[in-house]
Symmetry: C2
Subunit: 324 residues, 2 copies
Amino acid sequence: MYTPEQLQEKISSKLKELPLYGEPAGLYQPIVYSLEQGGKRIRPMFVLLSNQMFGGNPEEALPAATAIEIFHNFTLLHDDIIDQAPLRRGNKTVYQKWNTNIAILSGDTMFAIAYGELSKSNPVLLPNLMDIFTRTAIEVCEGQQFDIEFEETNNVTLENYINMIRLKTAVLLAASLKIGAIIAGASAIDADKIYDFGINLGIAFQLQDDLLDAFGDQSVFGKQTGGDIAANKKTALFLKAIEMADSDTRMQLEQYYTAGDVATEKKVTQVLSIFEKLEIKSAVEEIISEYYNRGMSIFNSISVTEQQSSMLRDLTTLMLRRNR
Amino acid sequence: MYTPEQLQEKISSKLKELPLYGEPAGLYQPIVYSLEQGGKRIRPMFVLLSNQMFGGNPEEALPAATAIEIFHNFTLLHDDIIDQAPLRRGNKTVYQKWNTNIAILSGDTMFAIAYGELSKSNPVLLPNLMDIFTRTAIEVCEGQQFDIEFEETNNVTLENYINMIRLKTAVLLAASLKIGAIIAGASAIDADKIYDFGINLGIAFQLQDDLLDAFGDQSVFGKQTGGDIAANKKTALFLKAIEMADSDTRMQLEQYYTAGDVATEKKVTQVLSIFEKLEIKSAVEEIISEYYNRGMSIFNSISVTEQQSSMLRDLTTLMLRRNR
């Protein structure tokens, strides 16, 4: 068994060894820049930890883990154009540092490179891996499109929102786990189980992020509290509040999320006080617990020993419990 | 043997049957729109004709042919953003009809769908097909990036330019032929030969396009003559002229291609008269013949009968001879 640190090291080395120094340099420099930004490498870690849990050899899962990390970073390049995000992990986004055209084209190249890495996996498994990877890629695009559309839609429900984050965030985590499992030779039943675990966990993670954005300890979490409220992002908190509020409060909330004439700081404070009155924090925590518990109960039904599953279990617990 | 018309019909039916009516509709409508625009379907025809030439069954090559056509249309969606092209085949481009974000995201989805179709090919061949497809996709991005960079570069040579059109245009035609051959079970030597034929032919096609833009009969070719000159596009004609001109004429040409103060019509006339004085038409025709002849000589060395190769031969001759 490799420790998580050893697996992280394998991922870093692999990413550094990628042949990304070709011509034209103008195409490859943004790709190197994007992959060097780091991040927590959660998705490739999920591939390797799931693989190890089912008795696999990490070397055999490393191409797929790399593919998923490159794919994830490709989506960030294009999402940052779409969301007009100036910064990513504290550094300028690619479209800001270079330009939109470069970010489009370097992103496209990364998508192709991701498939190139995936296809270095065991050829016997390739059709199955391709299916999962491609379906996931399409779903991530669908999720991003829903996210864009929801910004201009007034009657989004919490259910719509959870479906959106399932597509935009959870399916890639779930696919990472499933791909790791398949490469290790897990049974189809266990591979599906770990996928479903990933979906539930991914939704719980995103809801947790929504919660931390409003109620997190700024000094621990590192992001400004209330950013989503300031940006009128209709997250689970807002949608749950709309569900629970009486008609006056609902109107008030909707006004805050559309009016541009309220000073941001005042708006954040007012919305937070509505959230507190409606006990949104505990309402969303309850939803998170539901997804988390459902995920863990599926996880516990997978046919591996406690010892085999401990590393992945520890990581996910750590990820969900941070700052709570 | 199927006739070219029958093969075209197979491609059309396949494209119409693609499951492209999912949610969110905002993501899929532009994809349907893009694929319905038609075009000559040259690349999937190359897959099927090459496949048939080596005795393959078109049904087995159809997924790969579809993949290549979807991939090609995906590149058009993104290229049109990059080139700020308002029209494509007489209709509004996707980023104009919808917006840039939609064109980015629908394009990304098409790229994934293309891989999804490719992976329906014979699993035994999949690793090899994936390799060719992925390398080609990366090269097409490289070619597009070179094209962008050349617009802002002053010392581009004809050799640089030909390398750029090889990447941007020729490799996809060549890969189409090679993929069709591999699916039919052609030998590795023949598959490489038909690829090299495709490279030479693709370069000849693009040079021919450059020539027609300046010297084509507008009523036959359907595009305004001199469009490349008006747009300061440094095509093979310009680069050959720079190579052949004395220093005075070179300066004059460079001025025409940078100055914004010359009336377009006057500029086109003047540049064309320089091209005529330097006999650029016959100089470029000679280069085209070189590539064409090299391509045909490789083609003729492939181990199939005259009868087997006749359809592909006829199509390529037709494509190159149009308007000459």
